[in-house]
């Protein structure tokens, strides 16, 4: 009790110094948390992937499509429960600015939302979508971002599929939880295919990729091999992988950036460690006479060392706690500013755990050397010291 009292009183002895150190810690822990959240956001697509969904695409490259008749052949393979087509549309909404970009996919309207239970739909809206050939289901984040509502018409300029395309908002799907991305639009693949038949017949009857639902997630490798075996030596060989691996493939293209963000987040911690270590070293040096006095009075080196270490940990705990608490509102602001880039930008529990760990590690590491020095100070030398 007395120990804690001394530690607390010592912390606020040099108010400005402690306040600046704590402010530095707040900024560092906050920055660390935000950067870790960015890394998490990068992997958000992979995080929401289901273990029972596989992606089958052209083995040569994702830009090459697969014949639509593959759908029936994949469906016939053992362990496959359902297959849905998905085509990246790449339409331009209003202009090519980043703020107006959102993903659009032409999909099998009849089963698509059965494959993705993480998207919550209203039965009446889903029915209306299935009935309307130009109907589109849009995610909640997308609807909120652009103010789309049911009944609106969304005009898109085709970039991959030329022409002006119009879609009617049939419904808005909601996320199951805050890890679910709802910043995209789904429309009928049939609509796309029919238009292609009319305008570019050679490009009709092709799918960008197939989403394959399997019975048992533990058989993913076996089923994937079976699918790829089915199309071996064909004109369009396939590459089948889990949805997670498929998503991580995209992330891997930007792995260097993710790595840089990670490194910077730890560099921030390293810098604040140097700041706190310097503060604690100064503090311990100034108080050598007090530590010597305590030792002269009969207090052991352990008590004296624990005073400094406790102060260091307490300072980082205060700064860390404020930094962690500040992460939530600041992340919310970031999300509102970067929503287009990171549809899922949430402070994950393991980020908070890492922030706690970082604050604790900084406190211990910064305090350990001054603490040992204070504990080892010779009484006669310490008493002579004028701080």
């Amino acid at each position: 009790m007395y120990y804690l009292k001394l530690v607390f009183k010592n912390i606020f002895r040099h108010r400005l110094r402690s306040a600046l150190t704590i402010a530095g810690l707040v900024v560092a822990i906050l920055a660390f948390g935000l950067l870790q959240t960015v890394v998490h956001a990068w992997y958000a697509g992979a995080d929401m992937a289901s273990a029972t969904r596989l992606i089958t695409r052209n083995a040569t490259s994702l830009v090459f499509p697969l014949p639509i008749y593959y759908r029936e052949r994949i469906k016939a393979i053992g362990g496959v429960k359902a297959v849905a087509v998905s085509n990246w549309f790449g339409g331009i909404y209003k202009d090519q600015s980043y703020g107006n970009f959102f993903p659009q996919f032409a999909v099998d309207q009849d089963i698509w939302f059965d494959l993705y239970p993480e998207f919550r739909t209203r039965p009446d809206e889903l029915l209306a979508w299935k009935k309307d050939r130009q109907g589109a289901m849009i995610g909640r984040q997308l609807a909120d971002q652009h103010g789309f509502k049911v009944g609106d018409t969304i005009p898109l300029q085709g970039a991959i599929f030329p022409g002006t395309w119009e879609f009617h908002v049939s419904g808005i799907f909601e996320p199951r939880d805050d890890t679910t991305i709802t910043r995209q639009m789904y429309f009928h693949w049939d609509y796309l295919n029919e238009e292609m038949k009319k305008k570019f017949p050679k490009r009709a009857e092709y799918a960008g990729l197939f989403v394959v639902q399997i019975d048992d997630g533990s058989r993913a490798a076996e089923v994937s091999q079976a699918i790829d075996r089915e199309f071996r030596n064909s004109l369009a060989e396939t590459l089948t992988e889990t949805e997670k691996a498929f998503q991580l493939g995209f992330v891997a293209q930007t792995e260097t950036i993710v790595m840089a963000v990670r490194v910077v987040s730890f560099v921030v911690i390293l810098i604040i460690f140097a700041v706190v270590a310097n503060t604690m070293a100064m503090t311990a040096r100034e108080r050598l006479a007090e530590y010597a006095t305590l030792k002269a009075l009969g207090f052991g080196p352990g008590f004296v060392g624990a005073l400094i270490l406790g102060e260091s940990v307490m300072i980082t705990a205060i700064g860390g706690a404020i930094g962690i608490l500040a992460t939530f509102p600041v992340a919310a602001v970031f999300k509102s500013l970067l929503g287009a880039m990171f549809p899922v930008f949430r402070v994950a529990p393991d980020t908070i755990a890492l922030q706690c760990l970082a604050a604790l590690a900084v406190g211990l590491a910064a305090g350990i050397v001054p603490s040992v020095r204070a504990a080892r100070v010779r009484i006669v030398e310490g008493l002579r010291y004028i701080g």
């Binding site: 002895r13 006479a289 009075l297 009969g298 207090f299 052991g300 006669v380």
Partner: protein
Amino acid sequence: MAERPIVSISHLSKSYRRGDQVVPVLRDITLDIARGEFIALMGPSGSGKSTLLNLIAGIDKPDAGTLLVDGEDITTLGEADLADWRASHVGFVFQFYNLMPVLDAFENVELPLLLTSLSRRERRERVETALGLVGLADRMEHYPNELSGGQQQRVAIARAIITDPAIIVADEPTGDLDRKSAEEILGLLRRLNAEMAKTVIMVTHDWHAVESARRVTHLEKGELVDEPAGARAERNKRL
């Protein structure tokens, strides 16, 4: 049979290292201090008087010789045992008071009691008594920076006696005080010696302070010497 001295020093030597050089500070000191004595250690700067006081107080260790305090050779004690021994046997009064600036007068005096098994109530009673004894009962909640030098030194004396040690070591206790405050502090030390039978060992340059002591011992260049002629003349003049 004569009473055993509370401090018995025999052939004590101490030197410090300064780079490659060994600087002797105390040479072959032999000295007995009787229980209940008030002794002043005098000498010029660098004569070794503070070092001798530190050795007696158990905050430094000699290179050679024996140092018996209350029959116990403290030179053989390890760090932890020596800390325990100091807590129960010695009260410290420093020139610059050495109070904890973040603790108030009450808490500063209570500090040594935290090493005992006394209850909070017992500690409170003792602290109030000690602060009352030094005339600071009404300043218990004052922090050191809210007290004058003399008051701070009185708090330090209360802290020194709180565990009821047999020996009070005082290193230049009046060195940082004005004449009036110094006189008050010396009066307190005399009271502790006379009324509570504390053995007071004091290092000082102050002739006023010396007058409070019952015995004066001189050190010069690390050795005990007879009272120098100059010192004797000064003492006679004052008497």
